[in-house]
Assembly symmetry: none
Homo-oligomer: 187 residues x 4
């Protein structure tokens, strides 16, 4: 039973349980039981419970940071912004459990000595897909484009239809929102 991947397994189980039940309601005992180790074993790999969640965050934020870094170097054209949305959409799908966890545990995340950081990233991202001189409604459109994808990710479960088609539609609407914002600003 040689295992060198315990740390990873802890993260996996923790993410799953945090997302499903919430951070506060998930005890280390529960995580340990799912892994068939003792609570003390968790402490070999992570200094505290918060540490686990923080490690999860780093994994979540790295792709976003990379996306932001990439976005910041793009020209502020509509086309670039559309690509940002496409990449964000892909990131969202690729890390669904992490985003779900974020979305459902906002209160907890807030004072996790890291929380602000996430909202900051979101703010940065919205700024990268709008322009400062947009009228307010168009700025809202750009912001809404992002949240359409977020909410879509979870609420769309309750809508009938082919998952692939639904995902595509969500992206289409987001892109369209940003596009209209730019046309509105121009026209």
């Amino acid at each position: 039973m040689a295992r060198g991947n315990t740390r990873q397994r802890i993260q996996d189980v923790a993410l799953e349980l945090f997302a499903e039940q919430g951070y506060e309601k998930t005890s280390l005992r529960e995580i340990a039981e799912h892994l068939d180790v003792t609570k003390a074993a968790l402490y070999y790999h992570f200094k505290t419970k918060e540490d686990i969640v923080i490690s999860l965050f780093r994994d979540l934020t790295r792709p976003i940071d990379e996306l932001i870094a990439w976005a910041e170097q793009q020209p502020r054209t509509l086309e670039a912004k559309q690509e940002i949305l496409r990449r964000y959409h892909a990131a969202l799908i690729g890390a669904a459990p992490l985003f779900r966890f974020m979305q459902e545990n906002q209160a907890t995340v807030r004072d996790l000595s890291i929380g602000e950081t996430f909202k900051e990233r979101m703010v940065t991202l919205t700024q990268l897909i709008q322009e400062p001189d947009f009228p307010m409604a168009d700025r809202v459109r750009c912001i809404s484009a992002l949240f359409t994808m977020h909410a879509g990710m979870f609420f769309m479960q309750h809508v009938d239809g082919d998952p692939e088609e639904k995902r595509a539609a969500v992206l289409e609407v987001a892109v369209d929102l940003v596009t209209r914002a730019h046309q509105g600003a121009r026209g």
Copy 2:
């Protein structure tokens, strides 16, 4: 020290703290201290901690239920749907702390023997502002209209500008989304 309103005061303080810190992280001790009564006093007015949150919910859902009931009797015209959005927007603003609590404690709310009910209401509401034969993208637009208002409510804090203007812009975008969905379906 006027008495007779303790129940109400408990609800007020609880809502404030639940919204601010999250349900799990808010202890009854804390609520009691804020009110300058003992924990036991809370139990005179509410059977359990969950009971407090449930009572809060009833107050939250009543306006929504009324809105839904009203909406169900409207003709399925674009104009009626726009009015639904306007009314929902007003409800959102009128009960901001409650929605904020909901938004930030989704994981908790979920297994609160009442959570499902809320999501059901949201589903119903989205159905009332779309049409079953819409193409998927337009259905997403209608759903997005709702979530634009939700997210807007909280995320817009991070955007500069006159609060009144921001609120108006959020509503405008929401209404526009539904409008376009209907024009798309028609055109």
Copy 3:
């Protein structure tokens, strides 16, 4: 709804619940709810919870005290002792719930500032149906006569047969035990 019998009703309900669930596990709230009054009302009629149980005891012990008083004036003949058993048997049947309560809450009753008293009475009673110079086995027989009736009262539920016949048999065995004790001592 004029009531002058609340005190009595409290005693009735309390006895029933104490016997059924035990003294400690029966809360005043529960008693009050069964009576459709508030806890505070109980305090109008009884100073404390213990007070209720003590009042119950007085009712239980009065018949026994009378029996003992009567027994003490009888000649120490076998016939008189048989009559004591018959009367005790009748008392047991007449106040079954009280005895059941006693039997099932011995630990509680013990430090109820009254408990010792009851055991004393039992000791006295056993002394009245035996003789000091009896051999030990015959003294045990006399004591056993009493406990046969006690246990019989509750354990005999688990034995098939006509209740009347069972009761008679229990009394018969008890009387026989004392009778044999006396014959043994004599013979």
Copy 4:
């Protein structure tokens, strides 16, 4: 401060206190203090307070189960039944505190998700020392034999005399009761 035996020590102290003061009136705090550990330590060894009592029960019932198993394989002769009584008497003496606890906490034990089981065992045992076609009085004698030993165990404290002699007398009377029941049935 030898460790490794904590679980056993908890059981010992708990039994002592439960028997002395009753289950409900014995708090885990009290048990912990007697052992010079924290309450939480108890929870490392037992899942709940009830769990402690249940573990105590298993130890109590095992000897009885063995006795019953043995008894069921004996011929239904008077001699075998006398031996059953002797063995039950020995078991009673060997596990006096456990029986005392049972006897004095019947109300509590009843809804302990294990209680019924004990009464069942007692019923089984009484059936093994009587015969179905006995007249009622003789069946009562057999039952009484068992309860003579039970009550004797505790009530005999209040009778003067050499403990050894008293114990012997109790057994003698119990055996005699069963013997007479069988002679009566025959004669």
